[in-house]
Protein backbone atom coordinates (compact mmCIF):
# COMPACT_ATOMS: atom_id res chain seq x y z
CA UNK A 1 0.00 0.00 0.00
CA UNK A 2 2.77 2.40 1.00
CA UNK A 3 6.40 2.16 0.13
CA UNK A 4 8.91 4.67 1.36
CA UNK A 5 12.30 4.19 -0.26
CA UNK A 6 15.28 5.84 1.41
CA UNK A 7 13.33 8.98 2.26
CA UNK A 8 15.26 11.90 3.72
CA UNK A 9 13.92 15.31 4.63
CA UNK A 10 16.17 18.30 5.24
CA UNK A 11 14.89 21.67 6.41
CA UNK A 12 16.91 24.75 5.54
CA UNK A 13 18.37 26.17 8.69
CA UNK A 14 16.97 29.43 10.00
CA UNK A 15 20.28 31.18 10.42
CA UNK A 16 22.25 31.57 7.24
CA UNK A 17 25.48 30.01 8.44
CA UNK A 18 23.92 26.89 10.00
CA UNK A 19 23.72 23.57 8.23
CA UNK A 20 20.37 22.19 7.09
CA UNK A 21 18.43 20.29 9.73
CA UNK A 22 17.98 16.61 8.88
CA UNK A 23 14.49 15.76 10.15
CA UNK A 24 14.33 12.33 8.52
CA UNK A 25 17.37 10.30 7.45
CA UNK A 26 17.19 7.51 4.94
CA UNK A 27 13.90 6.02 6.11
CA UNK A 28 12.49 3.01 4.27
CA UNK A 29 9.35 1.15 5.15
CA UNK A 30 6.52 -0.82 3.64
CA UNK A 31 2.95 -0.77 4.86
CA UNK A 32 0.69 -3.58 3.69
CA UNK A 33 -2.91 -3.15 2.60
CA UNK A 34 -5.38 -3.36 5.46
CA UNK A 35 -2.93 -3.16 8.32
CA UNK A 36 -2.59 -0.61 11.09
CA UNK A 37 0.98 0.58 11.07
CA UNK A 38 2.41 2.60 13.93
CA UNK A 39 5.34 4.98 13.99
CA UNK A 40 6.57 5.70 17.48
CA UNK A 41 9.32 7.93 18.79
CA UNK A 42 9.94 10.80 21.16
CA UNK A 43 9.10 14.35 20.08
CA UNK A 44 11.54 15.66 17.52
CA UNK A 45 12.35 12.17 16.29
CA UNK A 46 10.97 13.04 12.85
CA UNK A 47 7.88 10.86 12.94
CA UNK A 48 5.46 13.68 12.07
CA UNK A 49 7.70 14.74 9.23
CA UNK A 50 7.87 11.15 8.01
CA UNK A 51 4.08 10.71 7.94
CA UNK A 52 3.78 14.02 6.07
CA UNK A 53 6.00 12.68 3.33
CA UNK A 54 3.44 9.96 2.63
CA UNK A 55 1.04 12.49 1.11
CA UNK A 56 3.87 14.85 0.25
CA UNK A 57 2.78 17.64 2.61
CA UNK A 58 6.50 17.47 3.24
CA UNK A 59 8.44 16.88 0.05
CA UNK A 60 11.42 14.62 0.72
CA UNK A 61 14.80 16.01 -0.27
CA UNK A 62 15.66 12.55 -1.54
CA UNK A 63 14.01 9.15 -1.84
CA UNK A 64 10.79 7.90 -3.35
CA UNK A 65 7.23 7.71 -2.02
CA UNK A 66 4.93 5.15 -3.58
CA UNK A 67 1.30 4.93 -2.48
CA UNK A 68 -1.06 2.36 -3.96
CA UNK A 69 1.26 1.74 -6.88
CA UNK A 70 1.63 5.42 -7.81
CA UNK A 71 4.93 7.14 -7.29
CA UNK A 72 3.79 10.41 -5.69
CA UNK A 73 7.26 11.94 -5.80
CA UNK A 74 7.10 11.80 -9.61
CA UNK A 75 3.72 13.55 -10.00
CA UNK A 76 2.93 17.12 -11.01
CA UNK A 77 0.85 19.40 -8.78
CA UNK A 78 -2.50 18.56 -10.39
CA UNK A 79 -2.03 14.77 -10.34
CA UNK A 80 -0.72 14.96 -6.79
CA UNK A 81 -3.89 16.76 -5.69
CA UNK A 82 -5.98 14.03 -7.26
CA UNK A 83 -4.00 11.33 -5.45
CA UNK A 84 -4.27 13.22 -2.17
CA UNK A 85 -8.04 13.11 -2.44
CA UNK A 86 -7.74 9.34 -1.99
CA UNK A 87 -5.68 9.68 1.19
CA UNK A 88 -7.45 10.67 4.40
CA UNK A 89 -5.63 12.44 7.17
CA UNK A 90 -6.39 13.39 10.76
CA UNK A 91 -4.36 15.69 12.97
CA UNK A 92 -3.33 16.18 16.56
CA UNK A 93 -5.12 19.52 16.76
CA UNK A 94 -7.99 18.38 14.53
CA UNK A 95 -7.51 21.32 12.10
CA UNK A 96 -11.23 21.92 11.63
CA UNK A 97 -12.51 25.14 10.13
CA UNK A 98 -13.82 27.23 13.00
CA UNK A 99 -16.30 29.19 10.93
CA UNK A 100 -18.10 26.12 9.61
CA UNK A 101 -20.50 23.63 11.09
CA UNK A 102 -19.78 19.97 11.68
CA UNK A 103 -21.76 19.24 8.52
CA UNK A 104 -19.72 21.67 6.41
CA UNK A 105 -16.45 20.44 7.84
CA UNK A 106 -17.36 16.85 7.01
CA UNK A 107 -18.48 17.94 3.53
CA UNK A 108 -15.25 19.85 2.89
CA UNK A 109 -13.25 16.96 1.47
CA UNK A 110 -16.21 16.06 -0.75
CA UNK A 111 -16.38 19.60 -2.12
CA UNK A 112 -12.66 19.53 -2.87
CA UNK A 113 -13.14 16.31 -4.79
CA UNK A 114 -15.92 17.97 -6.78
CA UNK A 115 -18.85 15.94 -5.43
CA UNK A 116 -22.32 17.04 -6.48
CA UNK A 117 -24.77 18.60 -4.02
CA UNK A 118 -26.87 15.46 -4.06
CA UNK A 119 -23.83 13.30 -3.32
CA UNK A 120 -22.86 15.53 -0.43
CA UNK A 121 -26.38 15.47 0.97
CA UNK A 122 -26.33 11.68 0.90
CA UNK A 123 -22.77 11.08 2.07
CA UNK A 124 -22.48 13.50 5.01
CA UNK A 125 -25.22 11.88 7.14
CA UNK A 126 -23.55 8.50 6.54
CA UNK A 127 -20.25 9.89 7.74
CA UNK A 128 -21.72 11.56 10.81
CA UNK A 129 -23.54 8.36 11.71
CA UNK A 130 -20.30 6.40 11.32
CA UNK A 131 -18.51 8.58 13.87
CA UNK A 132 -21.57 8.92 16.12
CA UNK A 133 -22.21 12.63 15.64
CA UNK A 134 -25.52 12.63 13.78
CA UNK A 135 -27.06 14.97 16.36
CA UNK A 136 -24.23 17.54 16.07
CA UNK A 137 -24.51 18.37 12.37
CA UNK A 138 -25.37 22.02 13.03
CA UNK A 139 -22.83 22.60 15.80
CA UNK A 140 -19.64 24.62 15.38
CA UNK A 141 -16.25 23.14 16.37
CA UNK A 142 -15.96 25.50 19.34
CA UNK A 143 -19.08 23.87 20.81
CA UNK A 144 -17.60 20.37 20.71
CA UNK A 145 -15.35 18.45 23.08
CA UNK A 146 -11.90 17.33 21.94
CA UNK A 147 -13.05 13.79 21.25
CA UNK A 148 -15.99 15.04 19.21
CA UNK A 149 -13.71 17.33 17.19
CA UNK A 150 -11.45 14.41 16.37
CA UNK A 151 -14.51 12.43 15.28
CA UNK A 152 -15.42 15.26 12.90
CA UNK A 153 -11.84 15.07 11.64
CA UNK A 154 -12.28 11.35 11.04
CA UNK A 155 -15.59 11.91 9.24
CA UNK A 156 -13.94 14.49 6.98
CA UNK A 157 -10.98 12.19 6.33
CA UNK A 158 -13.23 9.28 5.32
CA UNK A 159 -15.53 11.30 3.08
CA UNK A 160 -14.01 10.31 -0.25
CA UNK A 161 -13.75 6.59 0.58
CA UNK A 162 -9.97 6.65 0.94
CA UNK A 163 -8.04 3.42 1.12
CA UNK A 164 -5.44 4.97 3.36
CA UNK A 165 -5.81 7.02 6.52
CA UNK A 166 -2.86 8.93 7.98
CA UNK A 167 -3.14 9.84 11.67
CA UNK A 168 -0.71 12.37 13.09
CA UNK A 169 -0.78 12.02 16.88
CA UNK A 170 -4.57 11.62 16.80
CA UNK A 171 -5.01 11.24 20.55
CA UNK A 172 -2.22 13.37 21.97
CA UNK A 173 -4.51 16.32 22.67
CA UNK A 174 -7.19 14.13 24.28
CA UNK A 175 -7.66 12.74 27.77
CA UNK A 176 -7.22 9.03 28.37
CA UNK A 177 -10.84 8.01 28.20
CA UNK A 178 -11.59 10.03 25.07
CA UNK A 179 -8.49 8.77 23.32
CA UNK A 180 -9.51 5.18 24.03
CA UNK A 181 -12.82 5.94 22.30
CA UNK A 182 -11.09 7.48 19.28
CA UNK A 183 -8.66 4.56 19.02
CA UNK A 184 -11.52 2.07 19.22
CA UNK A 185 -13.24 3.95 16.39
CA UNK A 186 -10.08 3.81 14.27
CA UNK A 187 -9.74 0.08 14.90
CA UNK A 188 -13.38 -0.43 13.98
CA UNK A 189 -12.94 1.52 10.75
CA UNK A 190 -9.86 -0.54 9.94
CA UNK A 191 -11.75 -3.79 10.42
CA UNK A 192 -15.07 -2.82 8.85
CA UNK A 193 -13.86 -0.80 5.88
CA UNK A 194 -10.54 -2.59 5.38
CA UNK A 195 -8.81 0.76 5.52
CA UNK A 196 -5.02 0.90 5.80
CA UNK A 197 -4.05 3.14 8.71
CA UNK A 198 -0.74 4.77 9.57
CA UNK A 199 -0.69 6.18 13.06
CA UNK A 200 1.95 8.36 14.67
CA UNK A 201 2.31 8.44 18.42
CA UNK A 202 4.82 9.05 21.15
CA UNK A 203 2.96 6.61 23.40
CA UNK A 204 3.57 2.87 23.23
CA UNK A 205 0.14 2.44 24.82
CA UNK A 206 -1.51 3.81 21.67
CA UNK A 207 0.60 1.55 19.47
CA UNK A 208 -0.24 -1.46 21.62
CA UNK A 209 -3.96 -0.69 21.49
CA UNK A 210 -4.42 -0.55 17.71
CA UNK A 211 -1.34 -1.37 15.65
CA UNK A 212 -0.32 -4.57 13.91
CA UNK A 213 3.20 -3.48 13.09
CA UNK A 214 5.34 -0.62 14.29
CA UNK A 215 8.44 1.32 13.31
CA UNK A 216 10.50 2.99 16.04
CA UNK A 217 12.14 6.31 15.19
CA UNK A 218 14.98 8.01 16.96
CA UNK A 219 16.99 10.99 15.74
CA UNK A 220 15.32 10.97 12.31
CA UNK A 221 16.10 7.31 11.64
CA UNK A 222 13.94 4.24 11.77
CA UNK A 223 15.91 2.20 14.28
CA UNK A 224 13.70 -0.85 14.47
CA UNK A 225 10.51 -2.23 12.96
CA UNK A 226 8.43 -5.35 13.40
CA UNK A 227 5.14 -6.64 14.73
CA UNK A 228 3.98 -4.92 17.88
CA UNK A 229 4.34 -8.19 19.78
CA UNK A 230 7.95 -8.61 18.60
CA UNK A 231 8.85 -5.06 19.54
CA UNK A 232 7.35 -5.48 23.01
CA UNK A 233 8.76 -8.94 23.59
CA UNK A 234 12.23 -8.54 22.07
CA UNK A 235 13.19 -4.91 21.69
CA UNK A 236 16.72 -4.75 20.28
CA UNK A 237 17.61 -1.09 19.96
CA UNK A 238 18.42 0.67 23.25
CA UNK A 239 15.84 3.37 22.53
CA UNK A 240 13.13 0.77 21.92
CA UNK A 241 14.06 -0.99 25.16
CA UNK A 242 13.71 2.24 27.02
CA UNK A 243 10.29 2.85 25.46
CA UNK A 244 9.08 -0.64 26.31
CA UNK A 245 10.48 -0.44 29.84
CA UNK A 246 8.66 2.82 30.37
CA UNK A 247 5.43 1.18 29.27
CA UNK A 248 5.89 -1.69 31.70
CA UNK A 249 6.87 0.80 34.36
CA UNK A 250 8.42 -1.75 36.74
CA UNK A 251 10.26 0.65 39.00
CA UNK A 252 11.09 -0.52 42.50
CA UNK A 253 11.28 2.08 45.23
CA UNK A 254 14.92 2.96 46.01
CA UNK A 255 14.79 1.94 49.64
CA UNK A 256 13.60 -1.46 48.51
CA UNK A 257 16.64 -1.91 46.27
CA UNK A 258 19.02 -1.01 49.08
CA UNK A 259 17.51 -3.39 51.56
CA UNK A 260 17.48 -6.36 49.25
CA UNK A 261 19.09 -9.62 50.29
CA UNK A 262 20.07 -12.07 47.64
CA UNK A 263 19.93 -11.80 43.90
CA UNK A 264 17.44 -9.62 42.10
CA UNK A 265 16.19 -10.80 38.72
CA UNK A 266 13.95 -9.35 36.04
CA UNK A 267 12.32 -12.24 34.19
CA UNK A 268 10.47 -11.97 30.91
CA UNK A 269 7.91 -14.64 30.03
CA UNK A 270 6.37 -14.96 26.61
CA UNK A 271 3.35 -16.86 25.37
CA UNK A 272 2.90 -20.40 26.69
CA UNK A 273 6.08 -20.27 28.71
CA UNK A 274 4.24 -17.89 30.99
CA UNK A 275 1.93 -20.73 31.88
CA UNK A 276 4.43 -23.22 33.41
CA UNK A 277 5.33 -22.83 37.10
CA UNK A 278 9.01 -22.02 36.41
CA UNK A 279 9.68 -20.09 39.59
CA UNK A 280 8.15 -22.75 41.80
CA UNK A 281 10.20 -25.47 40.13
CA UNK A 282 13.39 -23.41 40.42
CA UNK A 283 12.77 -22.89 44.11
CA UNK A 284 12.22 -26.59 44.68
CA UNK A 285 14.99 -28.07 42.56
CA UNK A 286 17.71 -25.56 43.53
CA UNK A 287 16.61 -25.11 47.09
CA UNK A 288 16.38 -21.31 47.02
CA UNK A 289 13.83 -18.86 48.34
CA UNK A 290 11.86 -16.99 45.67
CA UNK A 291 10.14 -13.74 46.46
CA UNK A 292 8.13 -11.82 43.87
CA UNK A 293 8.60 -8.07 44.31
CA UNK A 294 6.90 -6.63 41.24
CA UNK A 295 5.20 -7.90 38.15
CA UNK A 296 2.98 -7.17 35.21
CA UNK A 297 1.35 -9.04 32.38
CA UNK A 298 0.60 -7.14 29.18
CA UNK A 299 -1.56 -8.56 26.44
CA UNK A 300 -0.64 -7.57 22.90
CA UNK A 301 -3.43 -8.77 20.71
CA UNK A 302 -4.30 -11.96 22.57
CA UNK A 303 -0.73 -12.93 23.40
CA UNK A 304 0.73 -12.38 26.82
CA UNK A 305 4.00 -10.78 27.78
CA UNK A 306 4.83 -11.21 31.48
CA UNK A 307 7.52 -9.37 33.41
CA UNK A 308 8.40 -10.25 36.98
CA UNK A 309 10.95 -8.86 39.37
CA UNK A 310 11.97 -11.56 41.86
CA UNK A 311 14.64 -11.97 44.48
CA UNK A 312 16.40 -15.29 45.08
CA UNK A 313 17.95 -16.17 48.41
CA UNK A 314 20.01 -19.21 49.32
CA UNK A 315 23.54 -20.55 48.87
CA UNK A 316 25.64 -19.00 46.09
CA UNK A 317 25.67 -22.25 44.15
CA UNK A 318 21.93 -22.70 44.60
CA UNK A 319 21.18 -19.18 43.35
CA UNK A 320 23.47 -19.64 40.37
CA UNK A 321 21.77 -22.88 39.47
CA UNK A 322 18.36 -21.30 39.89
CA UNK A 323 19.26 -18.39 37.61
CA UNK A 324 20.45 -20.86 34.96
CA UNK A 325 17.30 -22.93 35.44
CA UNK A 326 15.03 -19.90 34.97
CA UNK A 327 17.09 -18.60 32.07
CA UNK A 328 16.63 -21.91 30.29
CA UNK A 329 12.89 -21.83 30.59
CA UNK A 330 11.97 -18.18 30.04
CA UNK A 331 12.53 -15.60 27.32
CA UNK A 332 15.02 -13.35 29.07
CA UNK A 333 16.56 -13.00 32.49
CA UNK A 334 18.28 -9.83 33.60
CA UNK A 335 20.24 -9.79 36.84
CA UNK A 336 19.52 -6.42 38.41
CA UNK A 337 21.44 -6.86 41.63
CA UNK A 338 23.75 -9.32 43.36
Amino acid sequence: MIELQAVSVAFPSNDRAGAAIQAVRDASLTVDRGEVFGIVGSSGAGKSTLVRTINLLERPSSGRVIVNGTELTALGARELRRERQKIGMIFQHFNLMHTRTVWDNAAFALRIAGASRADIRRRVPELLALVGLSDKAGAYPAQLSGGQKQRVGIARALANHPELLLCDEPTSALDLETSAGVLALLKEINQQLGLTIVIISHEMAVIKAVCDRVAVMDGGRIVEQGTVYEIFARPRHPFTRELVDRTFNLELPGRHLDAIHGTLLKVLFLGEKAETPVLFEAARSCNVGVNILHGKIEYVGDRAIGLLVVSLTGTAAGVEAAVAFIRDRTERVEVLHG
Binding site: R81, M89, F91, N95, T99, F108
Partner: protein, 221 residues
Protein backbone atom coordinates in the same frame (compact mmCIF):
# COMPACT_ATOMS: atom_id res chain seq x y z
CA UNK B 1 -26.76 80.14 15.83
CA UNK B 2 -27.85 81.92 12.69
CA UNK B 3 -24.41 81.63 11.23
CA UNK B 4 -24.53 77.91 11.92
CA UNK B 5 -27.88 77.57 10.17
CA UNK B 6 -26.43 79.49 7.26
CA UNK B 7 -23.60 76.95 7.25
CA UNK B 8 -25.98 74.06 6.78
CA UNK B 9 -25.83 73.88 2.96
CA UNK B 10 -22.03 74.05 3.14
CA UNK B 11 -22.00 71.29 5.68
CA UNK B 12 -24.22 69.10 3.50
CA UNK B 13 -21.95 69.68 0.50
CA UNK B 14 -18.88 68.91 2.62
CA UNK B 15 -20.39 65.66 3.82
CA UNK B 16 -21.24 64.67 0.26
CA UNK B 17 -17.61 65.28 -0.70
CA UNK B 18 -16.35 63.29 2.28
CA UNK B 19 -18.64 60.39 1.46
CA UNK B 20 -17.51 60.46 -2.14
CA UNK B 21 -13.86 60.30 -1.13
CA UNK B 22 -14.55 57.57 1.41
CA UNK B 23 -16.63 55.57 -1.04
CA UNK B 24 -14.07 55.65 -3.84
CA UNK B 25 -11.07 54.93 -1.62
CA UNK B 26 -12.85 52.16 0.33
CA UNK B 27 -13.84 50.54 -2.94
CA UNK B 28 -10.23 50.62 -4.07
CA UNK B 29 -9.08 49.33 -0.68
CA UNK B 30 -11.27 46.29 -1.33
CA UNK B 31 -10.47 45.87 -5.02
CA UNK B 32 -6.72 46.44 -4.61
CA UNK B 33 -5.95 45.80 -0.96
CA UNK B 34 -7.56 42.37 -0.65
CA UNK B 35 -5.67 40.80 -3.57
CA UNK B 36 -2.44 42.51 -2.55
CA UNK B 37 -2.85 41.26 1.04
CA UNK B 38 -3.52 37.71 -0.16
CA UNK B 39 -0.53 37.97 -2.46
CA UNK B 40 1.74 39.11 0.37
CA UNK B 41 0.47 36.22 2.49
CA UNK B 42 0.65 33.29 0.11
CA UNK B 43 4.08 34.18 -1.25
CA UNK B 44 5.47 34.01 2.28
CA UNK B 45 7.87 31.31 3.39
CA UNK B 46 6.56 27.75 3.51
CA UNK B 47 3.24 28.57 1.89
CA UNK B 48 1.88 27.17 -1.30
CA UNK B 49 3.00 29.97 -3.57
CA UNK B 50 6.24 30.68 -1.80
CA UNK B 51 8.11 33.23 -3.89
CA UNK B 52 10.61 35.28 -1.98
CA UNK B 53 11.39 37.73 -4.74
CA UNK B 54 7.75 38.60 -5.43
CA UNK B 55 7.09 38.80 -1.70
CA UNK B 56 9.99 41.19 -1.19
CA UNK B 57 8.84 43.45 -4.03
CA UNK B 58 5.31 43.60 -2.62
CA UNK B 59 6.58 44.29 0.86
CA UNK B 60 8.86 47.12 -0.21
CA UNK B 61 6.08 48.69 -2.28
CA UNK B 62 3.64 48.64 0.63
CA UNK B 63 6.27 49.90 3.05
CA UNK B 64 7.25 52.80 0.81
CA UNK B 65 3.64 53.97 0.48
CA UNK B 66 3.01 53.47 4.18
CA UNK B 67 6.10 55.40 5.21
CA UNK B 68 5.20 58.56 3.30
CA UNK B 69 3.07 60.82 5.53
CA UNK B 70 -0.32 61.25 3.89
CA UNK B 71 -0.06 65.04 3.46
CA UNK B 72 3.09 64.49 1.45
CA UNK B 73 1.67 61.56 -0.52
CA UNK B 74 -1.21 63.86 -1.46
CA UNK B 75 1.21 66.28 -3.10
CA UNK B 76 3.55 63.62 -4.42
CA UNK B 77 0.80 61.92 -6.40
CA UNK B 78 -0.48 65.11 -8.08
CA UNK B 79 1.17 64.20 -11.41
CA UNK B 80 -0.48 60.79 -11.32
CA UNK B 81 -3.85 62.38 -10.58
CA UNK B 82 -3.36 64.84 -13.44
CA UNK B 83 -2.49 61.97 -15.75
CA UNK B 84 -5.52 59.89 -14.74
CA UNK B 85 -8.20 62.57 -14.37
CA UNK B 86 -6.84 65.62 -16.24
CA UNK B 87 -7.40 67.64 -13.06
CA UNK B 88 -5.99 67.75 -9.54
CA UNK B 89 -8.83 69.60 -7.86
CA UNK B 90 -12.00 68.28 -6.28
CA UNK B 91 -13.00 65.29 -4.19
CA UNK B 92 -12.61 62.80 -7.04
CA UNK B 93 -9.05 63.96 -7.64
CA UNK B 94 -8.29 63.70 -3.92
CA UNK B 95 -9.60 60.15 -4.06
CA UNK B 96 -6.55 59.06 -6.07
CA UNK B 97 -3.94 59.48 -3.31
CA UNK B 98 -6.53 58.34 -0.76
CA UNK B 99 -7.04 55.12 -2.72
CA UNK B 100 -3.32 54.50 -3.03
CA UNK B 101 -2.89 54.94 0.72
CA UNK B 102 -5.99 52.82 1.40
CA UNK B 103 -4.75 49.91 -0.74
CA UNK B 104 -1.37 49.77 1.04
CA UNK B 105 -2.96 50.19 4.46
CA UNK B 106 -5.64 47.57 4.00
CA UNK B 107 -3.27 45.11 2.28
CA UNK B 108 -1.19 44.99 5.47
CA UNK B 109 -4.26 44.40 7.61
CA UNK B 110 -5.50 41.69 5.23
CA UNK B 111 -2.10 40.00 5.39
CA UNK B 112 -2.22 40.25 9.19
CA UNK B 113 -5.60 38.61 9.52
CA UNK B 114 -4.60 35.86 7.08
CA UNK B 115 -1.60 35.14 9.31
CA UNK B 116 -4.10 34.57 12.12
CA UNK B 117 -5.74 31.71 10.23
CA UNK B 118 -4.78 28.40 11.83
CA UNK B 119 -2.01 27.03 9.61
CA UNK B 120 -3.24 23.53 10.44
CA UNK B 121 -6.49 24.24 8.62
CA UNK B 122 -4.56 25.26 5.50
CA UNK B 123 -2.48 22.12 5.83
CA UNK B 124 -5.61 19.98 6.18
CA UNK B 125 -7.03 21.49 2.99
CA UNK B 126 -3.76 20.71 1.19
CA UNK B 127 -3.80 17.18 2.57
CA UNK B 128 -7.25 16.64 1.05
CA UNK B 129 -6.02 17.81 -2.32
CA UNK B 130 -7.50 21.32 -2.43
CA UNK B 131 -6.17 23.56 -5.20
CA UNK B 132 -4.61 26.93 -4.32
CA UNK B 133 -7.71 28.73 -5.65
CA UNK B 134 -9.91 26.57 -3.46
CA UNK B 135 -7.76 27.17 -0.39
CA UNK B 136 -7.93 30.92 -0.96
CA UNK B 137 -11.67 30.92 -1.56
CA UNK B 138 -13.05 28.42 0.91
CA UNK B 139 -10.43 28.31 3.63
CA UNK B 140 -8.44 31.54 3.88
CA UNK B 141 -11.23 33.92 2.94
CA UNK B 142 -13.86 32.24 5.10
CA UNK B 143 -11.69 31.73 8.14
CA UNK B 144 -10.23 35.23 7.98
CA UNK B 145 -13.51 37.03 7.23
CA UNK B 146 -14.08 38.45 10.74
CA UNK B 147 -10.52 39.80 10.74
CA UNK B 148 -10.92 41.19 7.21
CA UNK B 149 -14.04 43.09 8.31
CA UNK B 150 -12.36 44.36 11.46
CA UNK B 151 -9.45 45.59 9.33
CA UNK B 152 -11.86 47.24 6.90
CA UNK B 153 -13.46 49.18 9.75
CA UNK B 154 -10.05 50.40 10.88
CA UNK B 155 -9.21 51.35 7.29
CA UNK B 156 -12.40 53.35 6.69
CA UNK B 157 -11.95 55.24 9.94
CA UNK B 158 -8.36 56.04 9.04
CA UNK B 159 -9.62 57.26 5.67
CA UNK B 160 -12.01 59.66 7.43
CA UNK B 161 -8.92 61.13 9.07
CA UNK B 162 -6.89 61.20 5.84
CA UNK B 163 -9.75 62.81 3.91
CA UNK B 164 -9.57 65.82 6.24
CA UNK B 165 -6.23 66.65 4.61
CA UNK B 166 -7.75 66.63 1.15
CA UNK B 167 -8.41 70.35 1.49
CA UNK B 168 -4.70 70.89 0.87
CA UNK B 169 -5.19 69.99 -2.78
CA UNK B 170 -8.70 71.41 -3.02
CA UNK B 171 -10.50 68.16 -2.31
CA UNK B 172 -13.10 69.63 0.02
CA UNK B 173 -14.89 67.56 2.62
CA UNK B 174 -15.85 67.95 6.26
CA UNK B 175 -12.30 68.31 7.54
CA UNK B 176 -11.59 71.03 5.04
CA UNK B 177 -14.69 72.89 6.17
CA UNK B 178 -13.58 72.72 9.78
CA UNK B 179 -10.14 74.10 8.93
CA UNK B 180 -11.34 76.91 6.70
CA UNK B 181 -14.23 78.18 8.80
CA UNK B 182 -13.42 76.91 12.24
CA UNK B 183 -9.70 77.72 12.20
CA UNK B 184 -8.93 80.43 9.62
CA UNK B 185 -12.14 82.39 10.31
CA UNK B 186 -12.25 81.77 14.04
CA UNK B 187 -15.80 80.37 13.80
CA UNK B 188 -15.46 78.05 16.76
CA UNK B 189 -19.10 77.03 16.42
CA UNK B 190 -18.43 75.54 12.99
CA UNK B 191 -15.42 73.72 14.35
CA UNK B 192 -17.49 72.21 17.16
CA UNK B 193 -20.31 71.18 14.85
CA UNK B 194 -18.02 69.54 12.29
CA UNK B 195 -16.00 67.74 14.92
CA UNK B 196 -19.22 66.50 16.50
CA UNK B 197 -20.41 65.35 13.09
CA UNK B 198 -17.13 63.49 12.50
CA UNK B 199 -17.38 61.83 15.91
CA UNK B 200 -20.86 60.63 15.02
CA UNK B 201 -19.66 59.44 11.60
CA UNK B 202 -16.80 57.43 13.09
CA UNK B 203 -19.14 55.94 15.71
CA UNK B 204 -21.57 54.86 13.01
CA UNK B 205 -18.77 53.24 10.97
CA UNK B 206 -17.44 51.41 14.02
CA UNK B 207 -20.87 50.15 15.09
CA UNK B 208 -21.61 49.01 11.56
CA UNK B 209 -18.24 47.27 11.33
CA UNK B 210 -18.73 45.54 14.69
CA UNK B 211 -22.15 44.36 13.56
CA UNK B 212 -20.73 42.83 10.38
CA UNK B 213 -17.89 41.19 12.32
CA UNK B 214 -20.35 39.72 14.78
CA UNK B 215 -22.43 38.29 11.97
CA UNK B 216 -19.40 36.71 10.36
CA UNK B 217 -18.00 35.51 13.68
CA UNK B 218 -21.19 34.32 15.43
CA UNK B 219 -20.27 30.71 14.83
CA UNK B 220 -16.76 30.73 16.14
CA UNK B 221 -17.83 31.60 19.68
Amino acid sequence: MDSLLAMLPDLVTAFKETFLMLGVSTAFALIGGVPLGFFLFITQRRLFWENRAANAVGNVLVNVIRSVPFVILLVLLLPLTQLLLKTTIGPVAASVPLSVAAIAFYARLVQGSLCEVDSGVIEAAQAFGASPAMIIRSVLFREALPGLLRGLTVTVISLVGYSAMAGIVGGGGVGDLAIRFGYYRYQTGVMVVTVAALVVLVQVIQVLGDYLVRRADLKAK
